[in-house]
Amino acid sequence: MNVLALIGRVFLTFLAAVGRLSRFALAAVTHMVRPPFYPRQILRQFIDIGYFSLPVVALTAIFSGMVLALQSHSGFARFQAEGAVAMVVALSITRELGPVLAGLMVAGRIGASMAAEIGTMRVTEQVDALTTLSTNPFKYLVSPRVLAGLLMMPLLVVVADILGIFGGYIIAIGKLGFNSGSYLANTWQVLEPLDVLSGLVKAAAFGFLIALLGCYNGYYSKGGAQGVGAATTNAVVSASILILIANYGITEIFFAQ
C-alpha cells in the first residue's frame, strides 16, 4: 500500500468537501439577501432557535457560572486572592464559556434537528417537490435557517452572559460570603465592552456554522433513514469541532497581542 497515495487521496477528498461546503455557504448567503423572502419560514426558525433554545442555554450558563465561582474561589484561596472571583467569572463567561457552551448546546439541539428535517425532506422527495412548485429549496429551506442561526445565537449569548454572571453571583454571595455591592461593582469594573463584543461575534459565527452544517448535511443526505441518521450525527460532530476551531481563531484575532 502506497502511503503517500493514501494521504494524497484523503487530502483531496478533504479539499473537495471544503470546496463543496464553501459553495454551499456562498449560495446560502446570496439567497439570504435576494428576494423572494419567506417571512413565515424565517419567523419559524427564529422562534425555534431563539426561543426554544432558551431553557438549555439558560441552565448551562447558570450552572457554569456557579461552578466557576466555586472553583476559582477554592483555587485563588491558596494565594489569598479570593477577590479575583468576580473577575474570573465575568471574563470567562462573556469571552469563552457563554458563547462556546451555548454553541455546543445549540449544535446538539438545532444542528441535529435541521439535518434530520431537511434530510427527511430530501429522501422523501420533498426537496424535489419544492423545485417542481417553482420554489428554490435553498431560499426556502437553507437561507432562513442560516439567517436565524446568525442572528439568534448572539441574543442567546446575551442571555447566557447575564445568567452565567448571575450564577456566579448567587454562589459568591450565598455561599462564599462576598458582599453583594462590592461583588457587583467588581464585576462591572473589570468588564470591557470588547469582552462582551468578542463573545457576541463568536456567537454569530457559531450560529452560522451550526445552521450551515445542519442544512448541508441534511441537504446532501441519501439512502433513507440510515442516511438521515448519519447526516444528523455528522451535523452535530462537524459543527462542534468547527465551533472549537473557530473559537480559537476569533480569540486570536481579538486578544492576541
Binding site: 423572494p36 428535517e117 422527495e125 420533498q126 424535489d128 423545485t131 417542481t132 412548485l133 417553482s134 420554489t135
Partner: protein
C-alpha cells in the same frame, strides 16, 4: 418547419446513468400540446427518472430536452423555476410537505407565486380537494394523519391546483381502491380534455392506461421499445408490449431472478 405544431415536450437521445448503471440510454420522444402519453415499463426501468429529467430535478449527461422549444438540460436554477411553473407533478410517494397542513400543501404553488392571499388559497385548496374526492375536514389535517391513498390524492390535488399546462402523474392510481382509481382516471381525462393540459402518466395499471392514454410509450433497458396509439396496443406486434400487457413471466423481458 414541416410539422403542423412544434411539440410541447421534445426529447432527443437523452442519456442518464447513476454510477455504472445506465438508466436512460437514448430516449427520443415528442409530446404534442394537449396530448396524453402513458409510459409503461417494468419496475426500475427509469420511468420516474425520465419525467424528473424533464423537470430538471435529474440532470442527464447528454441529449436534448425541450419544453416549449426551450432547452432544459444545462439550464440554470432561475430558468428551471420558470419551466416548472408550467408543470404540475404528482410524485410516486406523494412527497407532501409534512411541516404544512394539507390545505397549504395543495395551494403551495399558488401561495408561493403570490397570486393568492391565505383565505383565497384555503378556498382553492378545498375546491381542488373536492375534485379528488376529499372533504373539507381533510384540509386542516397534517399529511402524517392521512392514509397512503389519501396522501396520493392530496399530491394529485397539489399537482393540478394551479391548472398547469403540463402535468406529470407518477403512478396516480397505485394504492387506491378500484372505484377511487377510476375516479382519478376520469379526473386525469378531465384535466387533459377540458383544460387542454399536456400529460405524461406513469402507470402499471393497463385499465387506467386504456382510459387516459392517447399514446403509449414502453420503456425497457433505457430505451423506448415501442411508442404508439393506445388503440394499437393489443396488436402492436411488439413482443415486449405483448408480454407486459398480459403480465406473462415468459418472454423477451427477463426478471434476472436466480433459479
Amino acid at each position: 418547419m414541416t410539422e403542423a405544431a412544434a411539440p410541447k415536450i421534445r426529447l432527443r437521445d437523452v442519456h442518464k446513468r447513476f454510477g455504472d448503471k445506465v438508466v436512460l440510454d437514448g430516449i427520443d420522444l415528442d409530446v404534442q400540446a394537449g396530448e396524453s402519453i402513458v409510459v409503461i415499463g417494468g419496475s426500475g426501468s427509469g420511468k420516474s427518472v425520465l419525467i424528473k429529467s424533464i423537470q430538471g430535478i435529474v440532470r442527464p449527461e447528454s441529449g436534448s430536452i425541450q419544453v416549449d422549444g426551450e432547452e432544459v438540460i444545462g439550464m440554470g436554477g432561475k430558468q428551471i423555476e420558470r419551466i416548472n411553473a408550467k408543470i404540475g407533478m404528482l410524485f410516486q410517494g406523494a412527497a407532501l410537505f409534512d411541516s404544512l397542513p394539507v390545505w397549504e400543501n395543495v395551494s403551495f404553488g399558488a401561495l408561493q407565486a403570490g397570486k393568492l392571499d391565505r383565505k383565497a388559497a384555503y378556498d382553492l385548496a378545498v375546491e381542488t380537494l373536492a375534485k379528488v374526492g376529499l372533504t373539507e375536514d381533510v384540509a386542516k389535517l397534517w399529511p402524517s394523519e392521512l392514509s397512503g391513498g389519501m396522501q396520493k390524492r392530496v399530491g394529485l390535488a397539489r399537482a393540478i391546483a394551479t391548472e398547469p399546462e403540463i402535468i406529470f402523474f407518477d403512478e396516480p392510481t397505485t394504492g387506491l381502491d378500484p372505484i377511487m382509481a377510476d375516479v382519478i382516471n376520469d379526473l386525469i381525462v378531465t384535466c387533459v380534455k377540458r383544460l387542454g393540459a399536456t400529460a405524461i402518466t406513469i402507470t402499471h395499471d393497463m385499465a387506467s392506461a386504456r382510459k387516459i392514454a392517447d399514446r403509449v410509450a414502453m420503456l425497457y433497458k433505457g430505451k423506448l421499445v415501442w411508442v404508439g396509439p393506445i388503440a394499437d396496443i393489443d396488436n402492436s406486434g411488439n413482443p415486449y408490449v405483448d408480454q407486459f400487457i398480459h403480465g406473462r413471466a415468459e418472454g423477451p423481458i427477463t426478471m434476472d431472478l436466480r433459479r
